[in-house]
Subunit: 337 residues, 2 copies
């Protein structure tokens, strides 16, 4: 626990800017591809797609494809289309997720489904998925197609898994990890794996990049889940409590539930399983999380996966790309403070 | 118009059995692949997938992949997985369509979304799409991947197009054709195109098979749309009127609307655009269709596309495969009687 404090106090503020500026020239081309490929005579398609795509997502996933291509000194062009394909896969998932979760908001804006209806969200998601595959096919690397199409199936499987486990306070940390590995980390892993594959690197480097992405993805989702309860500080703020209101069983809940007394478990069962949420319940949830250090330990777990991500890159020689990717891990974890 | 009568009276009952028995050995393997690939530790996935897959669809699309492979004497194995992939793409579309259309029934059974919820239909559809792409990648033919991934994007585009044009009685026959070309015929075309591609046939034969599939797909959808109003007889029966109740603008409506008086157009606007449907309205719709020969001419249009499909196969030498494919066109059209 002292470690957390030490890191909070002493570590230089970790920066994502290194990565952002290294990928900037390629990212400009990715953005052009994204814009071109959401075009359609069916006007609803660019409208819906661009609502989400232009809404200020960080584009972390395509950045990772560009970064691993850079790390592996890939001299070609394929990484640009694959990065755009990865972002399309991600956007399609978000569109479908909003329908599944019946979410009203996404990235601080009204969810597409609130503006154009569930129908449009489902179908434009399908369109983006189709375009993603078209772009991958254009790049023409069967191993990359294998990695990305496998990820698509695993992501959907993870979403169904999450649906099956929804509102179940019996969920174990392992169950939870299985879900986020599939629904979040699989795409991070695939985004990172295609870089070295395009660059025709050996098994070891491909596996290293995949491992970096997978563990970064897990860390990223853990931090997201902690942030949904206000992060380490567990304070009420903007967007805090969305998961609570939707009855999502994330790691902070799993930890608080398992560490709590039976009366506390009754609270979690009432609020999350039965969805009976009254005034003051979110505050109580935050208090229980503070009491059991659920959020600190969620961040601590994230730090563990972040460490695995960083170590995975150990086999690569020092370079600006490597350093930027290492810093990105620290940045992802530090968001929770 | 006399032609329709002549055909009804004199033509030997067209058979689909020729095609069914020719593809039977391969289809058994396709079914095994389908069963294996809907397997998942996430139990909801095989449940939902098999509910639809085992519900007695005709498997016409995978049959076409097997048939064109047979027609082109393809000696390999890839057609089996591609046929399964085509069926998965189709099933995914049905799952998503039910959510988009808010349908209660599918193939005479409760729609999956009624049993497992919209969420499961969206996500299991995504899973099947992911599995479809995985299988295509395993087959390893980039030109086939190109054809099928392009179809996936076009299908989704067609669905969005349909959504945009929904309940709009201004829809022209051309608008309608653009929609069904994209949402239905594109997959028929792709299913047929991959056969000759796998068999390494030349451009002419690939284009011929594609044209066969495209036109058969259009004919097939036209007949489906006529059947939804009872086919040529325009009689009430099982499942008659689903499109009417959902306000779908299909060719029979386009024709009846354009051929009708202003008072009749008011009727179509009230029932389909505003969705104000009262007792007797379906009967009145059927009467208007009879009056304007809307269903007969819808079937007549289908016959035109059917003829194009048959002629497309002209460049192939006579064979059992060719004959079965020609008969299949006649079968598809004759369903309306």
């Amino acid at each position: 626990m002292g470690v957390v404090v030490a890191l909070e106090d002493k570590q230089p503020s970790p920066q994502i800017e290194g990565l952002v500026s290294l990928v900037a020239p390629d990212m400009e081309r990715v953005n052009a591809v994204i814009l071109a490929r959401t075009g359609s005579d069916v006007t609803m398609i660019p409208e819906v797609a661009n609502h989400l795509i232009s809404s200020g997502g960080k584009r972390l996933r395509p950045m990772l494809t560009l970064a691993t291509a850079g790390l592996c000194a890939y001299p070609g062009e394929g990484h640009v289309k694959l990065a755009a394909a990865v972002e399309f896969m991600h956007t399609a998932t978000l569109l479908h997720d909003d329908v599944v979760d019946e979410s009203d908001m996404r990235r601080g804006k009204l969810a597409a489904r609130m503006l154009w209806g569930n129908e449009a969200s489902v179908l434009v998601g399908d369109f983006l998925l189709g375009q993603a595959f078209k772009m991958m096919v254009e790049v023409g690397s069967l191993p990359c197609l294998d990695v990305l199409s496998s990820a698509a199936a695993v992501i959907a499987e993870g979403e169904v898994m999450q649906l099956s486990a929804a509102k179940d306070t019996q969920t174990t940390e392992d169950d939870y990890l299985a879900v986020i590995r599939a629904k979040t980390a699989a795409l991070f892993a695939a985004a990172c794996e295609v870089g070295p594959i395009l660059a025709l690197r050996g098994k070891g480097e491909i596996a290293a990049c995949r491992s970096y992405g997978l563990n970064l993805g897990i860390a990223f989702q853990l931090i997201d889940d902690a942030l949904d309860y206000g992060g380490s500080s567990a304070k009420l703020g903007k967007n805090v409590g969305d998961d609570f209101r939707e009855g999502k069983i994330t790691l902070p809940v799993v930890l608080a539930f398992r560490r709590g007394a039976e009366s506390e478990r009754d609270f979690w069962r009432r609020t999350l399983e039965k969805g009976e949420i009254a005034d003051g319940d979110l505050e109580n949830a935050l208090a229980l999380m503070r009491k059991h250090r659920a959020l600190d330990d969620c961040v601590e777990r994230a730090r563990h996966y972040g460490a695995m991500a960083r170590d995975a890159l150990g086999i690569f020689a020092p370079s600006a790309w490597k350093q930027a990717m290492l810093d990105a891990v620290e940045f992802a974890v530090a968001r929770a403070h």
